[in-house]
Amino acid sequence: MAKLPIFQRLSKAPTQPKVSAPSKAFDVADLYDGPISTEDARAGETTAFDEKLRQAYFWIVNTAIISPHYDVEFNDAPPIQYRVGDTKRLLTLPSAQSYSSYALLPLLTFATQGKCLFIGGPGRGKTASAILMGVLAGYPVKDVRRAMQHGHPQMTIADLLGNPLPADLVTAQSMDAIRIAWRPWLAMRVKIIDEYNRIPTRTQSALLTVMGDNYAEVLGQIHECPPAAWFMTANDDKGGGTYQVIEALRDRIDVIVQALAFNPRFLADLLVRIEENLRPEDVVPPEIVFSQGELQQLNKAVRKVPIPAEVRRRMEFFASQFEFMETAGDQYEYLTKDTVRLSGVDWGMVTAADSGRDRLKDIGCQTVNGLSVRNLMTLISYSKAMAYFRGGQEVSLEDVRQILPFVLRDKLKPDPDAPFFAMPENAAFRVDSIGWLRHAFDLSCEEYDRLDLDRDDPVANMSDEFALGLDEIGGREVRARLTRIERLIGERVEGRKLYGSTYDDLLKLKYLHQRYTNYLHWLGAKR
């Protein structure tokens, strides 16, 4: 039977139309565009990858996955907002194209070749979404289903990676001679692990090697895996399950996306599937399937999206809020939450000693940890993908703001005893980590604006000056710069409380001071 047109229908390009310029260019080919699909008239045309990605998104949300939750909101004009319920929660009607994170984040993972964890109760379409991603990568549905790894308590490393050939085990004279029958999924560009929190701890370690380093090892034999997008499912994001998920494996996950509840208002959409006996993954339109070469080009295009300096500075400022812990040590470089964690000292004891700062105002006091380099790289990567997906020429602050909570969920851990969470108006943030992280980013941007760092950031100016290089710079100029650094440090520390951003600024100034000092010594030795 022919595939039903309703499941094959793609959103018409452009899916993200830009405001048209006043100039009017008329194309006679438009004569044949209209409500009637002319499929074969368009054979051979290629769609830009961002457009193709958006068409894939709209096909997924309009046809495949019923997820009418537009929680990634963008506005190009003031949105309409309502306060609802006794708690006066905000219902926003966005004024620009907005997205459902449940469909969007897997697609951005697909574009960045990242690692995405689907969480949520059973039967919410986590596995179906992951399979769709496999089909979008050009694999037949059967292959995707067969290659999917299902976590279970008896799963061994051999189950996961492959078995040594029995004949070789008997006849081999050395380990090198033992051939391994590697599992086919290792060679795929979309890898799916269903219920990863049911995999035994030892097997999780083998999985970590594949995820982190892109190779598998059995009996000393190495199998190199291609770069891939990873999709995992679990019933919760805290690593619980049959086995506790090892910390390193959880840290490798780039984004966590929650399958939100089904809205019964959309029950009619389910009816069609049951009555027609159709599964969305069986009827993915070929127009939105990416070939292997296209996947590589897509990934390359995403990486190329620039991040403007002003957006990058706000990311830096936000990231600098969290690692600093004034009571954590004696030496300046070790005043970090990581020092506390490594020492094993009780967290409550350390925070109790933290006095003098406004612990309510300081965003850094809301967490028990800071951001790792991997977290920041993921944030950059997904912000670029978000901007690319929206057809932007560069990453905007709103791209970062919307993507940040999904990247930092489960990475930036809240301190439930922090004064911030004790405030009645912030009580909801104890359970809504997405809302909390976005709120924290907003607070950070407010503070950034208050400090007027867009216009007056002497540390950034000194960094830019240093980045121009030291060639042809004489001793007098270097000494002048050193004096400016020392004066700035003096101003920063005089009578001021220490906050995360100040801490990182001072470390940066110390770094610059040290580089100039070394250069000055080198100049002296040269003479």
Binding site: P5, P22, F26, V28, L31, Y32, E39, D40, E276
Partner: protein
């Protein structure tokens, strides 16, 4: 109403699939009217199926498959059949398509869908003449092949008043055999020379001997289906004439085959200087030509470029486009 043997044969052979398609659209769209759909199949698709059966029977099934999907869209959107606002799609399928049986049989979806979209676009363009396009297409049918039909449609759309497609239509004509291009424009002689003159003078028509071009009237009150809610004002801009009527700002594109209006941003009008054409006792004076006026001089809005004068009035919802050429 009974249908031809050709259509009933294909419908019978693929009945479960066709029924499923109808059921899916019906579920997705509660306003879907099966009687309208049935009328489209029997009155519009059937003549096409019958003509294809006569010209290329081995392709009838493919044409019906494509036509069935298009009929579903047409019915779901009320673009054809009983209840449609206009009958241009009906006329296209009933009068034009049977004459294009062979090309349509070779590329059914592209040509059935493309030409249907074309007639809808022409009908939706203020100033264009969809009825004339249908007549021209009917006459040009013997010249068409599956490879040239879309280009022929483009050239004839220009002739039927889609003047904003002038450049694209000329390029499309270049892709056709010269004899076909000349025939489509009702021209004689050497296509290269005709083409060169068309490119040089937007008011010259190869089928008219006279050098004088006809005046064009475009517009009308929105209450009667026209584009203007208020009497329009006109200015001349870098890309042509820009017209303001109430909240709407429109670009006016005109040539020897007609004039069309296209929405543009309000800034396109606001930024333009008000440079009216010169008025004297005899009428509007442009270069060495005087265009006599038949409307009151009070409340006039005029604009002129190198080849035309546009006149609007506070007392009219119509614009007059007056071509002028140095004698």
């Amino acid at each position: 109403m009974s249908v031809s043997a050709a259509l009933s044969k294909v419908l019978a052979a693929t009945r479960p699939a066709f029924n499923a398609r109808v059921a899916t659209v019906r579920r997705a769209q509660s306003s879907f009217d099966e009687q309208v759909f049935s009328a489209i199949v029997t009155e519009l698709l059937d003549p096409v199926a019958a003509s294809v059966e006569a010209a290329a029977p081995e392709r009838t099934a493919a044409v019906v498959q494509a036509g069935f999907d298009i009929a579903l869209t047409l019915a779901a959107r009320r673009l054809a059949g009983p209840g449609a606002r206009r009958d241009f799609v009906d006329r296209l399928w009933r009068e034009v398509m049977p004459g294009l049986a062979r090309p349509v049989s070779e590329r059914p979806r592209a040509l059935l869908g493309g030409l249907t979209n074309a007639v809808l676009n022409i009908a939706a363009t203020s100033g264009a003449r969809p009825g004339e396009w249908l007549d021209l297409m009917t006459n040009a049918a013997p010249l068409a092949t599956s490879a040239t039909l879309l280009e022929i449609g483009q050239v004839l759309a220009w002739r039927a008043g889609m003047s904003h497609y002038r450049d694209g239509a000329l390029n499309a004509a270049d892709l056709l055999p010269p004899a076909t291009s000349l025939a489509l424009l009702n021209a004689k002689g050497d296509w290269t020379k005709v083409r060169a003159r068309l490119a040089e003078d937007r008011w010259w028509r190869p089928d008219r001997d006279s050098a004088a071009s006809e005046d064009i009237s475009i517009g009308g009150f929105t209450g009667f289906g026209g584009p203007f809610s208020h009497p329009p004002k006109v200015c001349v801009g870098p890309e042509g004439f820009v017209v303001r009527s109430g909240e709407r700002t429109l670009l006016l594109v005109a040539d020897c085959y007609g004039a069309t209006l296209h929405p543009v941003s309000p800034e396109s009008f606001d930024a333009l200087p008000d440079r009216p054409a010169a008025l004297d006792a005899k009428g509007v004076r442009v270069g060495d030509r005087v265009v006599p006026l038949t409307i009151p001089r009070q409340g006039l809005s005029t604009a002129a470029d190198k080849t035309a004068v546009v006149v609007a009035s506070d007392y009219s919802y119509d614009l007059k486009v007056l071509p002028w050429r140095r004698p």
